[in-house]
């Protein structure tokens, strides 16, 4: 008997074959070979090659790889590869036929038996080769079928305060704030009526939840008894990191599976004498554990991935998780065939979210998904790379105003509250009571399509703040006589905003340097050199120098009064 790469190699007749595992423990308890040998020894023509020791058929591409080599011969060998269950019954024949000598040969068993997933348990891979003289050589390799599956992933960062939960603001059409669960942004476990955490009741692996694409509502479930609840078994929410952060995922393994009989079963690991680890890879690099620990059902492992982007962006990042195993004490890992892919949407923001002081509630748990999504849609459309706060302000102010390129309307299709649009003279509808009703604003302008400057200033201030733009203030301007302006949602520039008068009793804008530069998303000034005439040339007001803004907006000097940003609901 010899041992090579975990194989038991026997030069004997089939009747004399003995089976043992590759583990040390199994080898020690195995019976010695017996019976008359046939041939002159295994090294003559059948040699072991890389073959799986552990497999999970329910992984994508999962199954057992089977390898061996045959020495050179002028005639082909007859080879039979079979899989035996723990009782010695042949349950599969992955290959049967002639194979040339002088080469390595590889086969793959998909670990299905009669079309069903092989149950977790111990199997034997047997390779029997017969040369032209009738000499028989046999290789046996123990194979453990396991069920390796992820139940949940909790996103974090290697440095504190670099990752935030994201917020939704509706629940089945009503207003309610929900923060993505820090305990498991990615979750795939048994729903009510399901047997196991990892598999569907028909034994198929539970598919990975897709990225939740809605931006206003989280995933919901509707219990048979009525009502509506937040989905708490199967979801995949977007993540939000500070630029350049190093993500750390805490992965929890599932504990049970569904057997081919339809009954609940275990996962059949740990495997005695062997360690199993999980590693991931995506387009940016590898996800590994700083202190590898052997997986156990229900166990938890932390994996650190490649840093997220260094600019603010939205990035869908599929991660292929695969497993590796090795004998205890060994230094190198063998790949377990197959992978499991989880998709993750990662938003990056430049800095931590800022909020009005004193605000409390779930809405302050992190940036709102709809706001994150707007920013990145606008940045993409406008061709702005978000490297600095200046870029974020530019994308938000221009995108919010819209009406350029493919941005056919203003945000949520709002219109300036002026007669030409059917409005009422510039009343405040969303932002005037100390709390800006951003959720209603983002819900298809639920308080009406008309907005005034306070609505625009308060909504842009809280949106920019939650996107990590510091030091924002409202800037309340005094009354003024206007030059040509283009109001948000309006068709064109005007010199008669109110039908007979063209001034503001006040105006609200925002600033992040106490008025040195200002931003104003509710109107464009006229940059054609003649701001007292129409038509105009769009002058977007993102971080515009105050003096320049004042000169283009109004006749004479305009007073400023700085105010804190409002709370948000």
């Amino acid at each position: 008997m010899t041992r090579r790469n975990g194989w038991r190699v026997a030069a004997c007749s089939a009747a004399a074959l003995w089976i043992a595992g590759s583990s040390i423990a199994a080898a020690q308890s195995s019976p010695p070979p017996s019976g008359p040998g046939v041939g002159t020894g295994p090294t003559l023509f059948l040699q072991p090659d890389a073959t799986s020791r552990i497999c999970d058929p329910k992984l994508d591409g999962g199954g057992a790889e089977i390898g061996y080599s045959l020495t050179a011969s002028h005639k082909p060998y007859q080879v039979v590869v079979t899989v035996l269950d723990s009782l010695g019954n042949v349950v599969a024949t992955p290959f049967q036929g002639p194979r040339l000598g002088g080469a390595s040969h590889h086969h793959f068993w998909d670990a299905k038996i009669g079309g069903l997933w092989a149950d977790p348990g111990t199997y034997t891979i047997r390779v029997v080769a017969t040369d032209w003289r009738g000499s028989v050589r046999t290789l046996d390799r123990e194979l453990t079928v396991v069920r390796l599956g992820i139940k949940s992933i909790a996103a974090g960062s290697t440095v504190a305060n670099n990752e935030w939960q994201t917020v939704y603001f509706r629940k089945n059409g009503n207003y309610a704030f929900y923060a993505t669960p820090a305990t498991n942004e990615w979750l795939s476990r048994a729903e009510t009526g399901d047997l196991s955490e990892l598999d569907l009741n028909n034994g198929d692996p539970r598919p990975a939840p897709a990225i939740w694409n809605k931006t206003d509502e989280p995933a919901l479930e509707f219990p048979p008894g009525g009502g509506v609840n937040y989905e708490n078994d199967w979801h995949n929410y977007p993540l939000c990191y500070r630029v350049g952060a190093v993500p750390e995922f805490t992965i929890t393994m599932g504990v049970n599976s569904v057997r081919s009989s339809g009954a609940l079963g275990g996962c059949r690991y740990p495997v005695a004498g062997w360690e199993i680890q999980i590693v991931g890879s995506d387009g940016m690099g590898s996800w590994t554990s700083a202190t590898p620990t052997s997986l156990t059902p229900g166990g938890v492992v932390k994996l650190v991935g490649p840093p997220v982007a260094t600019n603010a962006e939205r990035h869908d990042r599929p991660i292929a998780w695969h497993y590796e195993c090795r004998p205890v004490g060994a230094t190198t890992w063998e790949r377990v065939p197959g992978k499991f892919v989880t998709d993750h949407r990662i938003y990056t923001i430049l800095d931590k979210p800022y909020w009005a002081s004193g605000g409390t509630g779930t809405q302050y748990s992190g940036p709102w998904i709809e706001v994150l999504d707007y920013l990145h849609d606008w940045a993409d459309e406008l061709g702005i790379t978000l490297n600095t706060s200046d870029d974020v302000v530019e994308a938000l102010v221009k995108g919010y105003f819209g009406q350029q390129g493919n941005l056919l309307t203003a945000i949520e299709d709002v219109h300036y509250d002026c007669p030409s649009e059917g409005g009422d003279g510039g009343a405040t509808h969303y932002g005037g009571t100390g709390t800006v009703h951003l959720s209603k604003f983002l819900n298809n302008h639920d308080l009406g399509q008309y907005v005034n400057c306070t609505d625009c200033a308060t909504t842009t201030a809280v949106m920019l703040s939650m996107l990590g733009t510091p030091s924002l203030e409202l800037d309340q301007l005094g009354s003024m006589q206007l030059r040509a302006i283009w109001g948000i949602g309006c068709d064109d520039y005007t010199l008669d905003l109110w039908g007979g008068s063209h001034g503001f009793s006040y105006h609200h804008i925002i600033t992040r340097d106490h008025g040195v530069n200002i931003s104003d998303a509710c109107l464009c000034v006229d940059e054609d050199g003649n701001p007292d005439a129409t038509p105009g040339t769009p002058g977007y007001n993102n971080d515009r120098d105050w003096n320049n803004y004042e000169a283009l907006l109004a006749h004479g000097n305009v007073s400023q009064l700085f105010q804190k940003i409002p709370k948000v609901d």
Partner: protein, 289 residues
């Protein structure tokens, strides 16, 4: 820790927002010239001081041809949206139930001051509309002839009735709606002088434990009654300084449960909401491990 509080009145919140910031004043809010000028422009000092009422049951208002949606409570007050048979929002009624008449006047002032047009708004009385103690009209539509909104006070109640699409096909006439609401509010009995606003009572609010593991839940034991003794509507706020996370839902047995979704300490506040537009709140502190 348990604590009970009343919500900060609407007008005080509004005043806080629209105060300016000035380092020179070392935290003292400077006066807001816009509000001062508007108070003078609209003769705020002369506004009638109506009697205080216990609140207003916005959810019990019926508007012909429209379906009222649920009353929504939010910072500063309540609101209710009315839709037509096609589900198109037609009217929005906003209401702030304040402790004092002065607070309602301040809220009305805020509504009319923060109008960008330089035109002076007409009073409801000038247009022969019966709208509370005093009210102002924002006209809209492309021809400027339609009432886009009308804000008015009835004692300590401040209303704003908005037409959500003055020029839209099927737009409603806000005037009779305002008069209907106004008449109902004016007919409410006055509160006794010095009497506090009636608010819902939170009889008990506790969790089965002070700590919970993330991903698990706690049963809440609570009871809250409205001013008429019926169960109050409930709302929950998960907040606090070092914010743990979670949400509250009813389980299949009808029990309220706090579901813990993020580690940290948190303050879970129960808000009992009266049909009359007032609220009470009580908070407990929890730790999510």
């Amino acid at each position: 820790m348990n604590c009970t509080k009343r919500f900060v009145p609407f007008a005080l919140v509004a005043a806080a927002l629209f105060a300016g910031s000035s380092p020179a004043q070392d935290g003292a809010a400077p006066k807001n010239p816009l509000l001062e000028q508007s108070a003078a422009r609209y003769g705020m000092a002369e506004w009638p001081q109506g009697a205080r009422r216990a609140g207003f049951a916005l959810g019990e208002i019926d508007l012909p041809g429209l379906t009222g949606k649920a009353v929504e409570f939010h910072a500063g007050g309540v609101s209710r949206r009315f839709e037509d048979a096609k589900g198109v929002g037609r009217v929005l009624v906003e209401l702030a139930v304040n402790e004092t008449v002065a607070e309602s006047h301040a809220a009305l002032l805020t509504h009319i001051a923060y109008v960008q047009s330089t035109k002076t708004l007409p009073t409801a009385a000038e247009r022969s509309i019966r709208a509370g103690d005093v009210g102002y009209i924002g006209y809209g539509g492309k021809d400027g002839s339609k009432i886009a909104w009308l804000a008015f006070v009835v004692g300590n109640l401040e209303f704003r009735v908005q037409d959500l699409g003055p020029d839209a096909d099927g737009a409603v006439d806000v005037r009779p709606i305002v008069e209907r609401i106004s008449a109902r509010a004016l007919a409410l009995p006055a509160l006794a002088a010095g009497a506090a606003l009636p608010r819902p009572a939170i009889e008990k609010f506790a969790a089965e434990a002070n700590e919970v593991k993330g991903g698990e839940s706690l049963v809440l034991d609570l009871a809250a009654r409205d001013v008429d003794g019926k169960p109050a509507a409930l709302g929950f706020v998960v907040g606090g300084e070092k914010q743990g996370q979670g949400y509250v839902e009813q389980d299949e047995q009808g029990r309220w449960r706090f579901h813990a979704t993020g580690p940290g300490r948190l303050t879970l506040t129960l808000e009992a909401r009266s049909r009359l537009g007032t609220t009470s709140a009580k908070a407990i502190e929890l730790t999510v491990r």
